[in-house]
Amino acid sequence: MSELYREADPSQPNDRYMVTPDPDDLWEDSRVIINLGPTHPAMHGALRMVAKINGENIEKSYCEFGYTHRAKEKLGEQRTYHQFVVFTDRLNYCSALINNVTYSMSVEKLMGIQPPERAVWIRMACCELARITDHLICVGIGAVDIGAFSYFLYGFHQREEAYTLIEKLCGARLTTSYTRIGGLMYDAPEGWETELKAWVKKTRAVVAEMDVLLTNNRIFVDRTRGIGPADKEMCLEYSLSGPIARAAGIDRDLRRDQPYMYYDQLKFDVATGTEGDVYERYLVRMEEIRQSLNLLDQIADRIKPGPIWVDDKRVRIPSKVDVYNSMEAMIHHFKFFMRGFEVPAGEAYTTTEASNGELGFYIVSKGATMSHRMRIRGPSFWHYQALSDMSEGQKIADMVATLGSINIIAGELDR
């Protein structure tokens, strides 16, 4: 036992964190409780982990969060269904479009609205674009966390290009607010599909380059194999979904298993792994980028001219021309924005396959213009819960690699 050892003194504030030593354990004295976060640079967003470490190994840990809690679920009960669209951007801000689409679909389900075909195809293009940008940032930042910086810049450039495509749709890069209940706010500009296909072609080449750079890189493989594992049982225990569950061998993709929009008309493969470690999550994400690129190619061919908003007076904002030229449209416009539209009573839990896993909106309506309950099921919430178990017995630096691979987005975690 170290000579520096002394008994913990309760009157000393710092002694609270001292671990009572076991005299038989040679290494007991070296155990320390450390606090990572909430503003630790290796933490993605404001997260916090308190870990008991022995040397460099994490023996036990617990996670805390809530530092970016903005009470979105409460706001969902205080804002009209139309106003809530903007709040959905700020959930998973790396793939805001998927949140927009899922939210709109969940309200449409309650209202019995079928959006027009063109709108659905553009929404699918949006979802896949967002999935690619999200995965690019996840594998990129994950590599930065373990010391591969230049790799990240390859993906980041393509991500910026993708944001330019998104900007052409809705004028915003990050906080898109693109969908509306029953359709889309703006139509895709002429020739957007062609630009999309050109981007897909270029991104395919970049992804191939990224693949060469990292996938078989000895340092990267050694650093990620067997790190932060989550097997099938653990995925079911902790309700892990998306790429994490697929890397563990759970063959589940809501786009295929619970087809929504027109995914059943498209061809794509679902990537799965066996080990469920950081390396396989990386591989699954890379494969998903490739599959999404294929999907975008198919979608771009299927976007046909047509209306982008359902012709339903309840949800469609009257056009400006009508508002300025007819009294009825003016009143309609006023009522729409000042009061909102009523959603028939009912409850539905609508899910889609977001880039991180199962994203769901559980909306309970009592027939008012605002929801009675607006529950957001963000995949990050469930994934972050498993981090302590995944990183038990591993090194601190491995915990950082694991955190990067499960792609925790604080906006979705805290809501």
């Binding site: 609270r16 964190y17 001292m18 671990v19 409780i33 606090n35 909430p38 916090r48 308190v50 870990a51 008991k52 023996e59 036990k60 617990y62 805390e64 809530g66 809690h69 409460k74 009960e77 205080q78 449409e108 389900k109 309650l110 209202m111 019995g112 609205i113 079928q114 959006p115 079911l236 225990e237 902790y238 309700s239 979904s241 759970i250 298993d257 619970q258 929504y260 929009m261 027109y262 339903d312 028939p344 009573a345 009912g346 409850e347 539905a348 839990y349 609508t350 899910t351 199962e358 769901g360 559980y362 309970v364 009675h372 309950r373 529950r375 099921r377 919430f381 469930w382 819960q385 498993a386």
Partner: protein, 188 residues
């Protein structure tokens, strides 16, 4: 046009795809739990997308465990746990959304809870129910019996009031100078 309208691109085929399966499962549950089942709401009759089973709160963990392990049901994926403030007697409903990975069928289980009452924890069925139940406690003040770590999760540990209750005000704030210090008790 409401939830009864089937939308092809948004789960419109669920009723034809799972209708018979759901009926069979509900019969099974009714036979097994009998009087503990307060109400069953089927899609098409009630404005809901999937069947909702409302059970007495004492049997909730038992029912979830049955739904998870029974071969006919196999709802092995806990999609979500949340609650609603019904502003009636009893005041709250705890809502469990489940999904079967094998068939992609979904089902909803609810139990009614009055203010101050405890609900048996689902952490015995799914370990991952831990945080979701903590969030329900944090937001509604519904405590879960035998939960391993029943404390606030999103709000500060000194927070007063339960934000998602309907009588909780929108304005106002509570300021705290620091965050919670590391707790060695939780690292044992």
């Amino acid at each position: 046009m409401n939830i009864f309208t089937e939308i092809p691109t948004n789960g419109g085929n669920w009723k034809t795809k799972y209708g018979d399966v759901w009926k069979k499962q509900v019969e099974l549950v009714k036979a097994k739990f009998g009087a503990a089942i307060e109400e069953v709401r089927m899609p098409g009759e009630y404005p809901t997308d999937v069947p909702t089973i409302i059970v007495k709160k004492a049997q909730i963990a038992e029912l979830l465990s049955f739904l998870k392990t029974d071969g006919e049901c196999a709802y092995n994926f806990l999609a979500d746990i949340t609650a609603t403030d019904e502003q009636a007697e009893p005041r709250f409903e705890v809502v469990y959304n489940l999904c079967a990975l094998s068939s992609s069928a979904r089902i909803r289980v609810k139990c009614r809870v009055a203010e101050g009452e405890e609900v048996p924890t689902a952490t015995t069925v799914w370990k991952g129910a831990d945080w979701a139940e903590r969030e329900v406690y944090d937001m509604y003040g519904i405590r879960f019996h035998a939960h391993p770590n029943m404390r606030r999760i999103l709000m500060d540990y000194r927070w007063e009031g339960y934000p998602l209750r309907k009588d909780y005000p929108l304005d106002g704030y509570q300021l705290f100078p620091d965050s919670e210090p590391p707790d060695p008790e939780r690292l044992k």
